[in-house]
Symmetry: C2
Subunit: 116 residues, 2 copies
DNA sequence: ATCACGTGTAAGAATTGTCTTACGCATGAA
DNA sequence: TTCATGCGTAAGACAATTCTTACACGTGAT
């Protein structure tokens, strides 16, 4: 019954995404309901390009989801909303996560060679 | 009855501490029992100075605790062990954490002015 | 004295992350 | 056409992380 959580690598990305005051605030704000980028930027008091960057990070982590919609007056609006997440962080939870971790400082391509 | 979790700022520090493959591995390893720095470094396969840095970050976040002891043969050994932590991350949990957040890119002094 | 083991810290390179400013394009309304 | 609104992205500055290498100090045993 051990519900499969995110892989170690995914968990790192999620935690890194949440480990930032501004992004935390973004998530908290979105928890109050979906919103589109420009409005959210005004709401929080951040420049739109900056917000855009953070939204990408959050979406890449799977914590929020973006949808491009067309308003009645023909404008393209990008709405973001929270993705349901529920992370339980304990020592033992981490022990399991580490199991599915790719090498610490490992790279993109196929690993060059494993030396014993 | 709402058990007071860490403040928003503290939470950010904790998450940032865990959002790293190596530190995650360190915590997971320590979950198997306390250990001293040099041994832990060999165990994980990292240089001692590097490990030292990460241990500091983890300790600063309150996730691990270090104790300097003297072995029977007179050597100074620094033992680290896990501090009990149990973080539950959900959207609503973050909403509450954000309440106790110091301004995003803000500094020490009193906040300049609140503009509606 | 020298070696093996433990501790710590400092300096610098390489990489990421954060943020601002300045562009680009599209729409509807005036 | 021009303005206000929406979208995105690129370039550069600046700060923070991460990691290596090198050093310093302590002990007990050879």
């Amino acid at each position: 019954m051990t519900k499969a959580g995110p892989s170690g690598d995914e968990l790192v990305v999620m935690l890194a995404a949440l480990a930032n005051p501004l992004r935390m605030r973004i998530v908290a704000t979105l928890a109050g309901g979906r919103d589109y980028v420009s409005h959210l930027a005004r709401e929080i008091g951040v420049s739109r390009p900056l917000l855009h960057m953070h939204l990408q990070r959050l979406e890449a982590a799977g914590l929020i989801v973006g949808t491009l919609e067309l308003s009645s007056d023909g404008k393209a609006m990008k709405y973001y909303e929270i993705a349901d997440f529920d992370l339980h962080l304990t020592a033992s939870a981490l022990v399991e996560a580490v199991t599915t971790l790719t090498r610490p400082g490992s790279e993109k391509g196929p690993a060059p060679e494993e030396q014993s």
